[in-house]
């Protein structure tokens, strides 16, 4: 019996454990296994294997019985999931159901979750803009949150490292506020987008219109073919999972790559309860897992642990990791854990029409759009609010059919495609300021169906956000009007925080253990063999879609961790 226990414990012992298999967990797994570490990857949801588990990926539009709309009963029962633009008949199975995964909204917050192998990497918008030095310098210059312990130069080589493997399309624009990366052939800007780019360049010296940098393979390199991935086919139904592997997801890329090393064990249906702290060794020894099917608790052990559960769940796991040494959550002597959560302000849009280029249109489809890098308060403070916003920008040639009348005349009208004006649109992506009062915490009594404490989320907008919404609407409306666009309209959709799906922070990086949880290597200041490399680690949010930065932080932290292990420092 004793021997059996020893063997059993041995069988549950690895060199490394990765908690989560989304964008950042996939990268941690890839890098750890490539460096030869026997790695256990824990995923709370089911397995989703590339291609095999994309059941809707090749369905034609008419094969969806409600043409992508979801039944009212489902929408009514899942107001949180249904608030996401990507929640539809073809993709609903990649979203967590509201009632199966409850949490407490102290303030309204849409917590959009993808509980399966690959996480939200199947559903993401695939925009991959680098941060610039101005973004990392923000908190120190403007005196909010804490200073970032790293700068652009620390992360730049790791951006290159992940870009080459993931496959990023983009144009080398030479803009110092949005550094160029390792780009594959860029997508086209269309005629009206190019026209707007020229108009804006004439009017404003610091404002640029560029094609987005996005995780799509436009020009496959050997490293992509080696992953079994092919050129993006412009289907623009990415949220179903891509049988070509045309866009980057953990499922198409990092997870099978890690599997191929022979060093990865993937365990789906594994809800991580907590990280085990060994009081004698003064470090983490493993994790406690609730098997999602049997609800039984199990333990797994490893020398190092990468926490990649997605921002708020990584907070939850640390807050729930209670020991004599850490009664308030692992590594949380400072009391900062769970606090300074921030997100991206996506509330406002500006739309308009353009009456030029009426003899031109576009051909095919584009899984990308134009992008306006942040231009407010970049070099110095110039407005009555802190920081700024980036914006998406796109133009489309409107087409329509004559829907008037009934009978044969209606049928004839429907058979003929007519061309209208071009429509133009933009949406804001605003930086929000991390504050102590925007926090997550464990509820003291209520539990979720897995027996985990429910997460209380208390995250809201503030006056800075209101001013930024107003400024975005004014500035982009002015840019549209000066370009000659007509019917320019701005709109504040008042969407809830969280609906941007860019929640960050709570386990922030910093220089001082008294005011931060993680050091410059994403390593817990007070528990050195635990690394957090997802959105939870973010000191501030800047404006860029964050996934590329999580990938780079993960690869960089693994490199450091493995070097430290080899030097016997961990």
């Amino acid at each position: 019996m004793a021997n059996f226990n020893i063997d059993s414990k041995k069988a549950r012992t690895y060199d490394a454990i990765v908690i989560g298999s989304g964008i950042s967990g996939g990268w941690s797994a890839k890098e750890l296994t490539e460096k030869g570490l026997k790695t256990l990857v824990l995923e709370r949801g089911r397995d989703v294997q590339h291609i095999k588990d994309y059941p809707t990926t090749n369905m034609m539009p008419w094969e969806f019985e409600h043409r992508e709309r979801l039944p009212k009963e489902i929408v009514d029962a899942n107001p949180i999931a249904a608030s996401c633009y990507n929640f539809k008949e073809s993709s609903a199975h990649f979203f967590a159901k509201d009632n199966e995964h409850p949490y407490i909204q102290e303030k309204p917050f849409d917590w959009i979750r993808g509980y399966q192998v690959g996480g939200k990497s199947l559903l993401w918008a695939r925009q991959t803009q680098r941060w610039s030095k101005y973004d990392f310098e923000g908190p120190a210059r403007d005196g909010f949150a804490v200073e970032w312990p790293i700068g652009y130069d620390d992360i730049a080589p790791w951006y290159s490292h992940v870009e080459k493997f993931a496959g990023i399309t983009g144009n080398k624009d030479g803009i110092d506020t949005l550094p160029d990366g390792e780009f594959l052939v860029p997508h086209d800007l269309n005629c009206v987008e190019k026209y707007f780019k020229e108009q804006v360049a004439k009017q404003y010296k610091d404002r640029h219109i560029i094609i987005g940098r996005a995780a799509h393979i436009t020009d496959p390199q050997q490293i992509h073919l080696d992953q079994g991935r092919a050129k993006c086919q412009h289907r623009t139904i990415c949220e179903r999972g891509c049988p070509f592997g045309g866009y980057f997801s953990s499922n198409a890329s990092t997870i099978p790559w890690a599997m191929k090393t022979g060093n990865m064990t993937l365990r789906p249906h594994s809800v991580v309860h907590s990280i085990i702290y060994d009081e004698k060794k003064q470090k983490a020894s493993g994790v406690r897992v609730i098997d999602a099917n049997t609800k039984q608790m199990m333990e797994f052990y490893a020398d190092i642990i990468f926490l990649n559960a997605a921002a708020l769940n990584s907070n939850l796991v640390l807050l729930n990791s209670i020991s004599n040494r850490f009664p308030n959550g692992l590594g949380n002597d400072s009391g900062v854990l769970g606090k300074y959560v921030a997100f991206h302000n996506y509330r406002a849009t500006v739309s308009g029409e353009y009456e030029g280029f009426l003899d031109s249109t576009t051909d095919g489809r584009r899984p990308n759009s134009g992008y306006i890098p942040r231009f407010r308060n970049v070099y110095k403070q110039e407005t009555d609010f802190l920081r700024g916003y980036a914006a998406g920008f796109g133009a489309n040639r409107n087409t329509y059919n004559d829907r008037s009348g009934l009978g044969e005349s209606l049928k004839a009208g429907l058979a003929e495609t007519k061309y209208g004006n071009w429509s133009v649109g933009s949406h804001m992506m605003g930086e929000t300021i991390p504050k102590e009062s925007n926090y997550v915490a464990l509820d003291k009594s209520e539990k979720d169906p897995f027996g985990m404490p429910k997460l209380r989320i208390s995250v809201g907008y503030d006056d800075n956000d209101e001013k930024m919404v107003k400024d975005y609407m004014e500035q982009v409306s002015e840019m549209f009007t000066q370009a000659g666009f007509k019917n320019v309209r701005s709109n504040d959709n008042h969407r809830k925080p969280g609906n941007d799906i860019h929640e960050m922070g709570g386990v922030r990086m910093g220089k001082d253990p008294k005011t931060s949880l993680l050091n410059k290597w994403n390593q817990l200041h007070l528990c050195k063999n635990v690394f957090v490399t997802d959105g939870a680690s973010m000191t501030s949010t800047s404006t860029q879609n964050p996934s590329l930065t999580y990938m780079a932080l993960s690869a960089r932290a693994v490199d450091y961790a493995v070097k430290q292990m080899k030097a016997k420092n961990l």
Binding site: P61, H66, A230, Q233, T361, K411, T417
Partner: protein, 173 residues
């Protein structure tokens, strides 16, 4: 190499299409109650209505393309109870009007009479009947335009465009 990988991927994906696993269909099939919203007669009349809105010419009409069933399914699964009641009473109302005006049920009325009746509703002043008809017309257009026949033979939907050109001349005619 690239093409070979893609084709292999496609082949595997095609195999996966045969049936949706339970986790994928769990969102809709098990949740939404089976059975129709309308009686057999009402269903038949709805098919007559959608066929009148978009009739058979040298190409199939909405009735033949199954758009009646699509309209009923959408209203049953995706609309509120008020819209559902409106669909049922709206169809009955049309049948009654047909008897009053032409002495024949809607199903037995002539093609011209069926069209005349719908045109009068669309231009008329009965708000409830107009709301009903607007819903049915919009869903009929949606069901027709997203039918396999129309997307394949008329609008030529491309599942895999494999390109984006940002500025091309508008095709004439």
């Amino acid at each position: 190499m690239e093409r070979r990988v893609a084709l292999k991927s496609m082949a595997v994906a095609m195999g996966a299409m045969a049936g949706l696993p339970s986790w994928a269909s769990g969102w809709s099939k098990s949740v939404v109650a089976k059975g129709g919203l309308l009686s057999a007669d009402q269903s038949k009349n709805l098919t007559m209505i959608v066929e009148t809105i978009i009739p058979k010419t040298d190409t199939p009409g909405a009735g033949e393309l199954g758009v009646g069933d699509f309209v009923q399914k959408m209203v049953k699964d995706c609309y509120d109870s008020k819209a559902q009641a409106g669909l049922s009473s709206g169809i009955s109302n049309i049948d009654e009007q047909s008897v009053q005006r032409f002495g024949k049920s809607y199903a037995d009325a002539s093609k011209e009479q069926r069209l005349q009746l719908l045109q009068d509703i669309e231009k008329g002043s009965d708000a409830a009947q107009k709301a009903f008809f607007s819903m049915v017309k919009n869903l009929t257009i949606q069901g027709y335009m997203t039918s396999e026949y129309v997307m394949t033979n008329i609008t030529h939907y491309e599942m895999i465009p494999a390109r984006y050109h940002g500025c091309v001349p508008v095709k004439k005619g």
